[in-house]
Symmetry: C2
Subunit: 381 residues, 2 copies
């Protein structure tokens, strides 16, 4: 459970220039009133940086993580690999030799930023008392951190999936602070189907008898089964039907008999073992309440909220160079949703495609396909 560490309100760019790459730091960004009425007396955001901020502050890049991601985009000086290695790093598409890259754990998460597992002023975990969070809340808090870091304007804000929603919302909220915006495998507004899949996931967690209405931190057991079930469903939507079929077909897991046995529960098909593995991995690194908070934030995603229309919201991006990318086989954020976003801009843009057979997760595994596009349109080689 992360403790809340407050640091100085403002870290100067010079201090950061000598910092280590890919090491988690935390900073308090102060009290905050949430979009839909919640309040926290002190929000801490965890973040990591790579490279050095230029003296003129012109080389800052913000990389936004997806639902269960975190600030650890690339390895840097730490011992563990990041979740976007190959796309972010020295000499990579997002080149940490040239750019000062920042990634921030979203509020409500469980990787250093204030979330449901954080302690309140009475040293009790928030649990069920944690406020309802929106994507707008996340970017408003992140803009405070940017100011602390001495960043007046981002050369680029980049993200995929929920990270794409965050990147888009950041640019719409603070268009004067964003020169280039890259939205990958995402959309302007959560759709009915995304909400529907999300409902099943949130109910899976709430059905777990160990959930205890979100106040399980002092208990012996946590709602691991419910969180694992949510992850199983999510993971299916992250992959294409063809990818699952090619890898697993209907083969039984080695040594198991999925067609019933009389002396115990039936064995598994390979694809079931694969989903079990995905569930187990997530349960070991993620908090169920954070999954709920961030999933409901994503259900609420609507960049048009507070504006007259989607077009009016996107018209705020007049001076922002917007790049929209989709994965050809994505069936969670269908390419059509990227087309809708790109064509609703005041100056409609084409959608760039990651051509991958695996589905939504192609934005993680095959992001480097955008290397040429981004070097031309965003990083100006």
């Amino acid at each position: 459970m992360p403790s809340i560490v407050t640091t100085e309100d403002t870290l100067r760019a010079e201090e950061l220039a000598g910092g280590q790459d890919g090491i988690l730091r935390r900073s308090s960004v102060g009290e905050y009133h949430f979009e839909f009425g919640g309040y926290l007396p002190d929000v801490v955001l965890a973040y990591e940086t790579w490279g050095k901020l230029a003296a003129d502050g012109s080389n800052a890049v913000l990389v936004m993580h997806a639902l269960t991601g975190d600030a650890h985009v690339a390895q840097g000086d730490s011992h563990s690999a990041g979740w976007w290695e190959g796309f972010v790093g020295p000499g990579a598409t997002v080149d940490t030799n040239e750019y000062f890259v920042v990634s921030i754990n979203m509020v409500g998460g469980c990787n250093g930023s204030t979330g449901p597992s954080s302690l309140d002023e009475q040293d009790l975990p928030y649990g069920s008392r944690f406020p309802f969070v929106t994507i707008k809340d996340s970017v408003r808090l992140e803009a405070r951190l940017a100011k602390q870091l001495g960043i007046e304007s981002w050369h680029a804000v980049i993200g995929g999936s929920m990270g794409g929603a965050r990147a888009l919302e950041y640019a719409v909220e603070f268009p004067e602070q964003v020169k280039n915006l890259v939205v990958m495998a995402s959309s302007a507004q959560a759709t009915a189907e995304q909400i529907a899949f999300a409902q099943v996931q949130t109910q899976s967690i709430r059905l777990d008898p160990h959930f205890c209405n979100g106040d399980y931190y002092g208990n012996d057991a946590r709602p691991d089964a419910g969180l694992g079930l949510a992850r199983r469903l999510a993971h299916i939507t992250y992959r294409s039907e063809a990818e699952l079929e090619t890898r697993f077909s209907r083969n039984p897991q080695d040594g198991e008999k999925p067609t019933g046995q009389l002396d115990g529960p039936r064995g598994r098909y390979q694809v079931e073992s694969y989903l079990d593995h995905q569930a187990s991995k997530l349960v070991n690194r993620f908090d169920a309440n954070s999954y709920l908070v961030l999933t409901e934030a994503l259900m609420s995603h609507d960049v048009a909220r507070g504006h007259e229309s989607l077009e009016a919201a996107l018209a705020r991006l007049e001076k922002v160079n917007v790049v929209v990318a989709a994965v050809t086989t994505d069936r969670l954020y269908f390419p059509e949703q990227s087309v809708k976003l790109a064509s609703s801009l005041a100056k409609p843009k084409p959608v760039h495609y990651i051509d991958s057979p695996i589905g939504h997760d192609g934005f993680l595994t095959d992001a480097t396909q955008l290397d040429g596009v981004l070097r031309t349109l965003v990083f100006g080689d």
Copy 2:
């Protein structure tokens, strides 16, 4: 909870000719050893009939129901509408004025046939002791009932979704008893993705604290929440993304506030209310153990099992007229799976399409689009 009613072993065709249409009857088909080792001392199948069996027995049509369907295909003389009205009935595509239509509740179900809620010889519900059932088991038992009904050969066996799997398996098991086979929105073998979605559904039920390993019949509470959760996910897969978006988009349910409220749980989006409604309807008419048994039967669906290959299994249909149909927007049984089935026949066939925007459920709502095709190819007008 259905009781097990044994009737005479053989009902003669003459008796049936005077029977009422669409009225549930039950018949014992005897003891049974299941494909994967289970045993029941007496299996009862519930069935309904419409129309009259011709003296030469040439006009019998077997209509197979899907996962949560039952034998009540059409209203007939009963008070309640059937689940395939318009497609089956007097003057309909499957014309009960001309054909003697039979539909049988699958073993393991909860609508009259022996299932987990049935009582054993000690008057205790089977619950967790109910055998593992396969689609092959279901059709082997159904063939016994056909014999009792005096039907030596079906003019046609027709089904969609799991009903299509049952129809196909029936024809492969008993090719000499089937003249025409119509498989709609189904496949020859369950795919990795179908197994994956099914795993999430079965685990939803098992996660419910009221499931009690399947032995909940004597308890005050049943695993309604788990069954409802399974149904929510299933229902999403029955509908297309476009259909959900067109109907619900991201609109809030009337009078509810889905974006968090401080004085209680958040309200719902319209699509959540819709899924809640689907869940509630199913929970009121279906047993969770039956849902598990039939879902696992469908996971096990593989018409090639016991044969050298899929092609070898399908080669048994040499003398059967096979009609394969798919729904254009189906994303549970993708049209490609129908193409695979049709093209794996010894004499490959074209796939006929139901052109519907709503997805898999189009086989229910728009089956009459096949009227011309079936009148020409199967019903010989």
